[in-house]
């Protein structure tokens, strides 16, 4: 076994130029893969983090009725008491309640459909950092009647400005249209353009009174101290609320669009890796085939003196794998350093940011790659190398020692 490894390793260096070319191309392939995966992984992590931090929270609670029909009147039973008990849970960093409804916003000359989000200013800030995303004006905690915060895009669309009045119209629980004027306190920005156009924030307290259901809420959102405890916390909460008309969901269930992006990115990662490895596999097969054909006579003598087929096979598989691993490890080391550097300097993606920001991505990202991914790439390269070595190895086994030895080289 050791001897076979030793022979395999030394055989690689019989034709250093050829081996180095293979190693180099493998290194470049792996390096590129590492870099691409790091960027896409970071985009993914970034979009998740933003989705969770700015919008969905880790855990969401709704009434069963609201999950079926997103109507104003489908409120969470005993929301205020429930909110307090959630806020007091040791795993919870912050929690808030919201009252959500569809409605229309109108300025002097323009109008637009919006989702009206009635929020608790202090709790919302603690949970989803709404205040930190203000670009202009003031937060909902201003001492003024009916403040509203709208997205910058929406403000452009309505041709209005901070301090100006807008009218919100929506249907209350008694199916009557309610129209009330609000004054724009501030504007916010969101990574997802759609959110900037369609979400408006008002105080829940005022909205619930206008809706005829003072103090009620139809969405509770919690942010955990440690996201790794998500599963246990969710099942705990489900257990506690069992039998009640309340649906507890983690962010994956509450935001299937985010889960879809995750899946898509993962699939893209897999496809990129497979394409790169496939291209490399052809190079490996070609090189090893040349090596085997060159050593026909030598292989014939090895088989003549008693090296059995399994050992001949293993020797060629070892040689291929070592050759590939050497390249892969080099590429990975180089990739690791590149990712480290890119993480430090940041990578500007503004070239594609129009497309990306729609999905909730930032322009400058700091790529990072988990150690696990390096391990996966290593394993993938080994599997590729072993598979790529099969054809040359089978060709070697097919040779007839007496003919191979007679062959004049």
């Amino acid at each position: 076994m050791w001897m076979l490894l030793k022979i395999a390793w030394r055989n690689i260096w019989r034709n250093p130029t050829r081996s180095l070319v293979v190693m180099f191309s493998l290194a470049i392939g792996v390096w590129a893969t590492v870099f691409i995966l790091a960027i896409s992984d970071s985009l993914h992590a970034e979009s998740l983090r933003e989705g969770i931090e700015y919008k969905y929270g880790h855990v969401q609670l709704h009434s069963r009725a609201y999950k079926k029909r997103q109507e104003l009147g489908n409120t969470v039973p005993d929301a205020p008491e429930l909110l307090i008990s959630i806020q007091e849970a040791p795993e919870v960093e912050a929690a808030t309640a919201r009252l959500l409804t569809a409605g229309m916003i109108a300025s002097a000359g323009y109008s637009s459909n919006v989702q009206i989000r009635g929020v608790m200013p202090a709790e919302e800030e603690a949970t989803t950092l709404l205040k930190t995303r203000l670009t202009d004006g003031e937060y909902l905690d201003v001492d003024r009647r009916n403040p509203i915060i709208i997205g910058e895009k929406l403000m452009e669309k309505l041709k209005t400005g901070v301090g100006k009045k807008v009218v919100l119209t929506f249907e209350n629980t008694a199916s009557e249209l309610v129209s009330t004027s609000f004054r724009i306190a501030g504007t916010f920005t969101a990574t997802q353009v759609r959110d900037e156009e369609t979400m408006v924030f008002v105080r829940k307290e005022g909205l619930s009174r206008l809706a005829g259901i003072p103090g009620e809420a139809n969405e509770l959102v919690a942010k955990l101290k440690d996201p790794r405890k998500l599963d246990t916390f969710v099942s705990q909460l489900k257990g506690r609320l069992a039998g009640q008309e309340i649906v507890v969901e983690d962010w994956e269930q509450a935001a299937p669009d985010m889960a879809m992006v995750s899946d898509m990115i993962f699939q893209t990662d897999v496809i990129v890796t497979i394409i790169v490895l496939l291209a490399l596999a052809f190079g490996i097969v070609n090189t090893m085939l040349m090596a085997v054909l060159e050593r026909f006579k030598e292989l014939g003598i090895l088989m003549a003196v008693g090296m059995n087929k399994l050992r001949v096979f293993a020797m060629i598989v070892f040689e291929t794998t070592l050759l590939s691993l050497a390249g892969a490890v080099g590429g990975m080391a180089f990739g690791f350093l590149t990712v480290l550097l890119a993480n430090y300097t940041g990578v500007n993606l503004s070239l594609f940011s129009e497309g990306l920001s729609g999905w909730g991505f930032k322009e400058v990202i700091h790529p990072e790659l988990e150690a696990r991914v390096y391990l996966i790439i290593t394993i993938a390269v080994i599997i590729t190398a072993v598979l790529a070595s099969f054809y040359p190895a089978i060709r070697a086994l097919a040779l007839n020692p007496s003919e191979a030895i007679r062959k004049e080289i």
């Binding site: 003598i301 003549a304 003196v305 008693g306 090296m307 059995n308 087929k309 030895i405």
Partner: protein
């Protein structure tokens, strides 16, 4: 005691297209401890005969029995394994694994036989000494002369403790001094270890060293002589 016996051995290459009758009914018995040269002009069937005796090729008809085993009946790994444990090979050239040192080349067959480390090391040293290469143990084949390479090959052939050694024109690529030197070593091992050697050659000086000379012509045994006069230069 007979180590090898061939019965009515025939070999036809390309039986369908242009048949070449390389061997035509060869009956040959080799006793333990013999030092036999197979001689004859080029194309007379020497290589074919040695390859069939060594289990590297199959006869078209007839049989080869090595100490009771009919080797044409072995196949695949069983045959490879039989060669590993019973036959030592020395070829005309390219015998050695280029990436292994002299020592490693000799040790290699013993590793294939999974012999214990202590035994392997002792035997490598003894054999390299016997072929006069104690000072070249860590040299790769490319750093050795042709004669030295063939001596390593002889050491390797003996390392597996085979029943006999087959050497197909072992001196063909050597100058006459190296050739005689190689024959001296083979003869010494033949006498000291009672190792059976069968080698092919068409070099008169080599033929002189053989105890028994089997002459092939057109795939038939033409003469089979035992020489009493053997000159040995130790």
């Amino acid at each position: 005691m007979k180590v090898i016996e061939t019965r009515n051995l025939s070999k036809i290459y390309n039986p369908d297209k242009v048949p070449v009758h390389a061997l035509n009914g060869v009956n040959l018995a080799i006793e333990r401890g013999e030092f036999t040269a197979i001689v004859g002009p080029s194309g007379s069937g020497k290589t074919t005969l040695l390859n069939i005796i060594g289990g590297l090729d199959n006869p078209t008809s007839g049989s080869v029995v090595v100490e009771g085993t009919e080797i044409a009946k072995l196949e695949g790994n069983a045959l490879i394994n039989f060669r590993l444990h019973n036959i030592g090979f020395v070829f005309q050239a390219y015998n050695l694994i280029p990436v292994l040192t002299a020592k490693e080349n000799v040790e290699f067959v013993m590793l294939l036989q999974t012999r214990p480390k202590g035994e392997r090391e002792a035997r490598v040293i003894a054999l390299l000494e016997a072929v006069g290469l104690s000072d070249k143990t860590d040299k790769r084949p490319s750093e050795l002369s042709g004669g030295q390479q063939q001596r390593v090959a002889v050491a390797r052939a003996l390392a597996s403790k085979p029943k006999f050694v087959l050497a197909d024109e072992p001196t063909a690529n050597l100058d006459s001094i190296s050739a005689e030197n190689l024959l001296d070593i083979m003869l010494k091992l033949n006498q000291e270890e009672n190792m059976t050697f069968i080698f092919s050659t068409h070099d008169a000086r080599v033929i002189r060293r053989a105890r028994r000379v089997v002459t092939l012509e057109d795939g038939r045994i033409k003469k089979d002589l035992v020489q009493n006069e053997v000159s040995i230069n130790f």
